[in-house]
């Protein structure tokens, strides 16, 4: 009896393994190839008949590819009112475009969530969305897995691409940010909008303190912040220090320096401009003219007159406007007049740190890729872009859009003054290690503010940053 049971168990085991070992070999191998052949035949047939709006091109590299009737998924990070306004614009595209393309815009959390999702999709073979939002160094990470399509093939196409005037209309520096020398100069990103690091100031308060307007030089800035701090007398009132890598870069740019070395392969954090700006900020902190606020965004502090100056992205404009209004109402006083201006500078023109996420197309069927491009081309056309930047308070990426923004600029003077700075752009590094380097830069910033030697700390930061770059490049080989 025992042996019987044992034998039964053994048979079962063997049977189980055999079953596991022999899945029916599906004759699937030929199916996709056949389907593809059929498709191309069909499209060839369609090509012969089709004319009219949105018909496939008859020549050029995109000949015969038909974008009509495609559904495009777009992963973005816009939430709240921006998401609502975006939905309206996208709806208009869906109902109005003559290609019958449908865009499905989906919020996926923040930039990091999108990044995680795209990387996880690449790892699992899941198809990511057709259109993505993300920063330039994300593009490099994605392209390590060949996730992205090259915009050049669309932009330069005689039928679907941009005309020479249109291309020239985009601010050259914005549109060049998506070109990646590491990946054969492919154009992996396209700029739908931009933001800028600016200085927020309280005009009413400055006038009360006896100043005419916002500072332009570091000296004026320090003087005004100190005066405001003295007026408050409780440690607040001055400038809120921002220990962010973008802030550090902005100050370096404003004082005439750069954090990328000359051949764009490494970092220089110990240039004179960075040293000067750190010296200035540290002095302001020591004299009580600047302070740290670590509990969240600084706008309510600014609105409640606990800070005369704050620094941050211009995309915060609507939040500042909202808080200024709310707090004035709650306290029962008039709204302070406030504005944004360039980070105090020593250069001839104010060099602005301009940043912003690009939009990307993922590799998929050519029809989808093309449909994605048709949408992006529409979305960055001056009329659509004007609607979008009005809704979002971002900055446009092409000159022709400004025509459509006149009324908006009149209604929003702060936006207008920031817009006028757009021409003086500089950019943060797009090296693959920049995310890690940002963290190191923030630590170094704090070390300096806590009393470490400025030169030594920045030398060490430069070394660390270049080591990080080397380390990541070493992993790639």
């Amino acid at each position: 009896m025992n042996t019987k049971r044992f034998w039964m168990l053994a048979t079962l085991l063997v049977a189980a393994f055999t079953l596991a070992a022999c899945p029916a070999p599906a004759p699937a191998d030929e199916a996709p190839a056949a389907a593809m052949e059929k498709e191309s035949e069909e499209s060839a047939a369609a090509e012969a008949m089709d004319e009219g709006p949105c018909a496939p091109a008859t020549d050029g590299p995109l000949a015969g590819i038909d974008p009509r009737g495609q559904t495009i998924v777009w992963w973005h990070q816009h939430s709240g009112s921006r998401e609502e306004k975006l939905a309206v614009i996208v709806d208009d595209f869906n109902s109005g475009n003559e290609c019958g393309i449908t865009v499905d815009a989906q919020n996926q959390g923040g930039y990091n969530d999108i990044r995680d999702k795209v990387n996880a999709s690449a790892a699992s073979g899941e198809q990511p969305a057709n259109v993505l939002v993300g920063y330039q160094n994300d593009q490099a990470f994605y392209q390590l897995n060949s996730v992205l399509a090259d915009f050049n093939k669309f932009i330069d196409d005689p039928t679907w691409g941009l005309t020479a005037e249109e291309k020239a209309d985009f601010f050259a520096s914005f549109i060049e940010q998506g070109v990646h020398p590491v990946f054969d100069n492919q154009r992996l990103g396209f700029p739908p909008n931009r933001s800028m690091e600016v200085l927020y100031y309280n005009q009413t308060w400055l006038e009360e303190l006896g100043f005419d307007g916002p500072p332009t030089t570091p000296q004026e800035f320090e003087e005004m912040a100190c005066a405001a701090a003295q007026a408050n007398g409780d440690g607040t009132g001055g400038y809120i220090l921002r220990d962010d890598a973008s802030a550090l870069a902005s100050w370096t740019f404003a004082l005439g320096g750069n954090i990328l070395n000359e051949d764009n392969t490494g970092y220089v954090y110990n240039g004179q401009a960075t040293i000067d700006s750190m010296t200035l900020l540290k002095r302001m902190l020591d004299n009580g003219c600047a302070y740290f606020f670590t509990e969240g965004y600084p706008n309510p502090e600014f609105a409640a007159r606990r800070a005369s100056f704050t620094q941050g992205s211009s995309s915060g404009l609507p939040f500042y406007a909202n808080d200024m209004k709310t707090i004035a109402e709650e306290m029962g006083r008039d709204i302070d007049e406030w504005g944004v201006t360039a980070i105090p500078y020593t250069t001839a023109d104010p060099v602005q740190n301009i940043y912003g996420a690009d939009i990307m197309i993922t590799v998929s069927a050519p029809e989808r890729e093309l449909a994605s491009w048709v949408f992006i081309k529409w979305f960055t056309s001056p009329e659509a872009q004007a609607r979008w930047v009005e809704g979002s308070n971002y900055f446009p990426t092409r000159a022709a859009t400004e025509e459509h923004l006149k009324g908006y600029v009149e209604r929003n003077p702060q936006y207008g003054s920031a817009l006028s700075l757009l021409q003086y752009g500089a950019y943060e590094p797009q090296l693959i290690s920049y995310q890690a380097v940002r963290d190191a830069a923030e630590t170094a910033y704090n070390e300096i503010m806590q009393g470490a030697d400025i030169q030594a700390t920045l030398d060490a930061l430069t070394a660390t940053a270049n080591e990080l770059q080397e380390e990541l490049m070493g992993e790639m080989e």
């Binding site: 042996t3 053994a10 899945p23 806590q450």
Partner: protein, 572 residues
């Protein structure tokens, strides 16, 4: 029945007598055991399928990834122990070597025990040896098959990119990977060996005289075989890696550091181990010998410790600084939270279990912090622990006449702060930074509720009768706690202490939310370092290697905990 021991023993002997009286029961014993075994496996199956997919697969995946390098690449290029060397330098060779030695030792002990039983109980382990080891080799070959198939499967996504990403193409590629000759050979080899092993076991079983079938040595020998194979594989890998590293070092003209380091550190550890063992054995000796043994062990301890102090810092300095600092912060975090959390919640649970007014309200209050979404409570703690002089805690300090502190922005160690700035305590003695301490307080605040609820459930499982009996015996509150509550609560204490140690070692969410750049990285525990490597830098291989190292540490502590607990935990 009052749960005391004597009646239960009576029942047991009674049952035994019954069983002996009915011969069919006796004869059916082996088949009953088999039936119970199969039933147990079928009870485990659903849970283990899910855990296998979502708990064990990530483990296997991490082990595999840790041998690869590459940025944002699931299947990178093979790098052996390279990632580990990057993290802890030469120490990894020592760890791997001792791990291998431990595995082989364990297998040896299993076999030795079997043969000891043979002498003492007249069992028959020898015939089981061959089928056990054949099965073990089969299992090893099966593992080999998994690691052959895994990269082929993981490569499929990259082949699927773009327009060919269809269901049919996916299936086609899976089938293609499955039918690769090397995969099939490994699979069928494994099946053949497993069948041979199991068949051999059945044969042995049928040929053994009935009286000797009591003890089946199949399972212990299979496990011994598997550990030997794993140990041998690890030893071989370590050996080849050391040789490669050594010839590399020679080529660069760096000389003989490697071997001397390995030998010295191993000797240091061995001395410590030996010292512990001698100390333990001294307990069984008459007092004079014990005294001498203990003195000897103390001497060994000192020599061993000195060797390590001489050599370890050099190795540590050569590894990844962020990782070592992260481990240090983790150790502080674990030591600073787990015991306090458990102690507080035990006290609270015992108090809450008394008959008191408002019991249910208190229970809810203590549970609130655990339930609240941490994004909300973390925001509040950021305000409470703010560096502003007017923030809640700082205004309290000012009221008491003390200076305000930087709290979450303070990178200085707390012992250093207490000692003042004129004494430099060094990086280890300075203790966790104030910022990390603030995060610990938040951690304790959150998890006390969690532990309390489980303690309450454990207290509820103690039969009242025991308290009644002990009260009749005249035990007062404290005695009851010592002799009734604590022993009967020991399974819960064991569970919670293990869970707390594991949980605090890989604590992540609230640390990540509360960390500030101003703390200069002093709050970055091991799990933060791993997170950054994995998510921010997409260095999957390196992050996996760090995770495996952390796992080895936690596993070692768990095993020590188990050894200690096995003497003290009392199950009904």
């Amino acid at each position: 029945m009052d749960g005391s021991l004597s009646p239960s023993a009576a029942v047991r002997t009674d049952l035994l007598r019954q069983m002996q009286a009915v011969p069919r029961w006796y004869r059916g014993r082996q088949s009953r055991r088999l039936r119970e075994m199969l039933l147990a496996y079928s009870f485990l199956a659903p849970a283990f399928i899910i855990i296998g997919l979502f708990g064990l697969f990530p483990l296997a995946f991490a082990a595999y990834e840790s041998t690869l390098k590459g940025l944002n690449k699931i299947v990178g290029s093979y790098d052996g122990l390279g990632n580990y060397v990057k993290a802890v330098d030469n120490l990894i060779y020592i760890i791997a070597f001792w791990l291998a030695a431990g595995l082989i030792l364990y297998a040896g002990r299993t076999i030795a025990r079997a043969f000891q039983e043979r002498r003492q109980q007249q069992t028959e382990p020898l015939p089981w040896l061959a089928p056990g080891f054949v099965t073990a080799v089969g299992v090893a070959l099966f593992a080999h098959f998994v690691y052959l198939l895994l990269p082929e499967l993981l490569l499929i996504p990259s082949k699927l990119r773009g327009q060919i990403n269809t269901q049919a193409a996916f299936r086609g590629l899976v089938v293609e990977a499955w039918w690769l000759p090397k995969v099939q050979i490994a699979l069928w080899g494994a099946i053949a060996l497993l069948a041979l092993g199991v068949g051999g076991a059945l044969f042995v079983n049928s040929r053994l005289p009935r009286a000797r079938r009591n003890r089946i040595y199949f399972a212990p020998f299979v496990s011994a075989g598997i550990t030997v194979t794993a140990g041998a594989a690890l030893a071989w890998l370590t050996w080849t890696e050391i040789n490669a590293a050594y010839s590399d070092a020679l080529e660069k003209g760096e000389g003989l550091d490697l071997w001397s380091q390995i030998v010295t550190i191993s000797a240091g550890f061995l001395l410590l181990l030996l010292a512990w063992w001698v100390w333990e054995s001294a307990g069984d000796r008459p007092s004079n010998t014990a005294m001498a043994l203990r003195l000897g062990s103390a001497a060994m301890l000192m020599v061993g410790g000195w060797t390590l102090i001489g050599e370890l810092p050099r190795v540590i300095a050569a590894g990844d600084q962020d990782w070592w600092i992260g481990l240090m912060a983790t150790v502080y975090y674990v030591l600073g939270t787990a015991p306090i959390q458990l102690g507080l919640s035990l006290i609270l649970a015992v108090l809450l279990f008394q008959k008191i007014r408002g019991q249910s309200v208190f229970r809810v209050l203590y549970f609130l912090p655990y339930v609240a979404p941490f994004v909300g409570t973390a925001a509040v703690f950021r305000i409470i622990f703010s560096n502003r002089p007017s923030a809640p805690l700082n205004s309290m300090l000012t009221m008491l006449g003390a200076d305000p502190l930087l709290w979450l922005s303070e990178p200085t160690g707390i012992f250093q702060m207490i000692a003042g700035s004129h004494v430099d305590l060094g990086p280890i003695l300075a203790g966790p930074s104030l910022a990390l301490v603030a995060i610990m307080i938040y951690g304790i605040w959150t998890f006390v509720g969690f532990d309390t609820v489980i303690f309450l459930a454990g207290l509820g499982a103690i039969p009242n009768e025991l308290y009644e009996v002990s009260a009749i015996d005249g035990a007062d509150g404290w005695a009851q706690f010592r002799h009734v509550t604590l022993p009967l609560l020991s399974p819960t204490i064991y569970f919670l202490s293990l869970y707390a140690v594991i949980g605090t070692f890989k604590a992540f969410n609230h640390i990540f939310v509360l960390r500030q750049a101003a703390a200069l990285g002093t709050t970055d525990t091991a799990s933060i370092v791993i997170f950054q490597a994995f998510k921010r830098d997409t260095r999957y291989g390196y992050a996996s290697a760090l995770a495996i190292l952390l796992l080895i540490i936690i596993l070692a502590i768990t095993m020590i905990n188990n050894r200690v607990a096995s003497r003290r935990v009392f199950y009904g």
